[in-house]
């Protein structure tokens, strides 16, 4: 009796399923698309010395502390239909970004980017540049030594950067609701669906189900990332 009522309890509605799968998709794509930028920026911050570094760092880390709603608003100002870039995209290419699936991905990317960069940077800083020097004396140019030496050695950072960005995207709310809206089936990710369910009286069951899923996803992502980083960092990079 109790078991069957429990399984009934976890029979998701269509909207709920959509929110869950959409969340996973948005999180996956934003984490993945973050990576190339994060690899480059992380490498740049780790290997280059210049005076204005603190300015660049401050700018990159801005989404970490800025209210996500503000981040969303900035995105809207830039990429919205009347935004600086949005207007141009709309007129020339007839591309409308705001309030679309892509907007949800972009909002997540921006918010997750600092985490991804930080992880890449720490990982690259741990790699002795001496290896890259050795690769050069063996005939590898800068790119070859980056792809054969630096990047493989930074793999722990790459993986943990991906997972952190993925987890952060799963929880993304503020920037998404402003920039991508709360359109069921298109931009309504799990946190947004949860928010909607809480707002409407009588949706407590939905809200509770989504809550459980949110906790579960976040926990698996964070615990998994910890585990991976520990495992990978244990293979010490000492030759």
């Amino acid at each position: 009796m109790l078991l069957s009522s429990m399984t009934n309890y976890f029979e998701f509605t269509n909207t709920e399923w959509e929110a869950i799968t959409l969340s996973l998709q948005v999180a996956f794509w934003s984490a993945l698309l973050c990576l190339p930028f994060a690899i480059f920026t992380g490498w740049f911050l780790a290997r280059r010395k210049f005076k204005a570094k603190f300015l660049l760092e401050g700018f990159i880390n801005l989404p970490l502390v800025l209210p996500p709603v503000a981040t969303g608003f900035i995105l809207l100002l830039l990429l919205g239909r009347n935004g600086l870039i949005g207007q141009f995209l709309d007129e020339i290419f007839e591309i409308k970004i705001a309030f679309s699936y892509y907007a949800a991905v972009i909002a997540s990317m921006i918010v997750a980017f600092p985490l991804s960069v930080r992880s890449m940077r720490l990982s690259i800083e741990m790699i002795d540049p001496a290896y890259e020097e050795a690769a050069k004396t063996l005939g590898a140019n800068r790119w070859q030594s980056f792809f054969r030496i630096t990047l493989p050695l930074a793999l722990p950072g790459l993986i943990s950067g991906f997972i952190l960005a993925f987890a952060r995207s799963l929880g993304e709310f503020g920037a998404t609701i402003i920039f991508a809206g709360n359109i069921a089936g298109e931009t309504q990710t799990l946190p947004l669906a949860l928010y909607s369910a809480i707002q409407v009286p009588g949706q407590e069951t939905t809200a509770f189900r989504l809550l459980i899923i949110a906790v579960l996803f976040s926990f698996v992502a964070m615990a998994g990332s910890e585990l991976l980083v520990k495992k990978l960092h244990h293979r010490k990079h000492k030759a």
Binding site: A130, Y131, A135, T137, G139, L153
Partner: protein, 362 residues
């Protein structure tokens, strides 16, 4: 290789390097204290640093020319660099490390194959291991092999003796001699340890405070009184090149033939990494040699070489005699002995030493 010539100025953080030299084939030892600029010199030659002024060239191939702002990047120089710590790539196994450079060289330009390198350096059993599973000496051999497989025209070695335990540090010497002799690859070896360096080569470049103080054969430098100060600290030594006559499982025999006779050495020890006919360096400390005015008949010392005193060098409390016995031999005596024997330049004397004083450095 045709000659490597450098004529460069370079400064970093209050350190000024100003060097001009030519290097020919063979093994050249670059000796100097820590911070003298030896490693900087190697980095400049390898293209890991750019000179501020001057030129670096191998034969007619100009690598760096500061006037025309021409700098060949490190990866295009074909100069092998064996770093002190080896710098094996930790995420690759030994074989992957060895083959790292091969994809940047056309197959018909490969000077040496993986099999040959493995055989030469005896690293066949290590191929599937990761760098962290190797001992210091093994890492170093793999690093050398990795460099050789990039088909360099010149090999630079930074402190090859200091990464190893004292008892093992000289194990690398036979390999380097083989590489030089069999591959005809010139080698520049940097070290702050003169006795170790002398086991490898008697061609020296002395570096101090970013400048070259002398370049030449070790005994010539001693004759010019350039080395005694430096060498007294680390212990003066005669380095004599012997020929390997016989290698058996439990003993080996070496010989040195001079116009005035022959010295033979037999040691009850296994001699590895060498073949019959190879040259091998034997050291003999100047204080282990005695000088007599005549051949001494009733004495147990068998090695008695007749020679002429080329030079008498007084240095502090010590007196050194440089004697030509078919090769140059440095002998330490006290000033009292010199006076009582009335030794002078050009005099014929006999140099006596026990066979056991000859140290075979393998």
């Amino acid at each position: 290789m045709t000659t490597l010539s450098i004529d460069i100025k370079w400064s970093r953080d209050n350190f000024n390097l100003d060097m001009k030299a030519n290097f020919s084939d063979g093994i050249t030892g670059i000796f100097g204290a820590s911070g003298a600029g030896k490693s900087s010199l190697l980095q400049l030659i390898a293209g890991l640093e750019k000179p501020d002024k001057g030129q670096i060239a191998i034969g007619n191939d100009v690598l760096d020319n500061c006037e025309t702002k021409q700098f060949t990047p490190a990866h295009k120089r074909k100069i092998g660099y064996v770093f002190q710590e080896g710098r094996l790539f930790p995420h690759m196994n030994v074989q992957q490390n060895l083959l790292f450079a091969t994809r940047y060289i056309r197959e018909n330009k490969q000077q040496i194959s993986l099999d040959e390198v493995v055989k030469l350096l005896e690293i066949g059993s290590l191929l599937k291991k990761l760098p962290k599973q190797l001992s210091g000496g093994e890492k170093q051999r793999v690093a050398i092999g990795r460099s050789l497989l990039s088909s360099p025209r010149l090999l630079l070695m930074d402190e090859p003796f200091s990464a190893l335990d004292t008892s093992l540090r000289r194990q690398i010497i036979p390999y380097l001699i083989k590489i030089n002799q069999k591959l005809k690859l010139p080698i520049l070896v940097v070290s702050h340890d003169l006795p170790d360096l002398l086991n490898l080569s008697q061609k020296l470049l002395l570096v101090k405070n970013g400048q070259i103080i002398a370049q030449g054969n070790y005994l010539d430098l001693i004759e010019q009184d350039l080395l005694i100060n430096i060498m007294e600290e680390s212990g003066l030594n005669n380095m004599i090149s012997f020929r390997i006559e016989r290698i058996e499982t439990d003993y080996f025999e070496l010989s040195k033939t001079t116009p005035k006779g022959q010295i033979r050495i037999k040691r009850n020890k296994k001699l590895q990494h060498f073949e019959k006919g190879d040259e091998i360096n034997v050291s003999l400390r100047p204080e282990d040699i005695a000088i007599a005015l005549n051949q001494v008949k009733d004495v147990s010392i068998r090695n008695q070489l007749e020679g002429t005193i080329l030079q008498i060098i007084k240095h502090g409390n010590q007196t050194y005699c440089l004697v030509d016995v078919g090769f140059k031999l440095l002998v330490t005596i006290t000033e009292t002995s010199r006076q009582s024997l009335k030794l002078f330049q050009g005099e014929t004397v006999w140099c006596l030493f026990k066979s056991m004083a000859l140290k075979v450095n393998v």
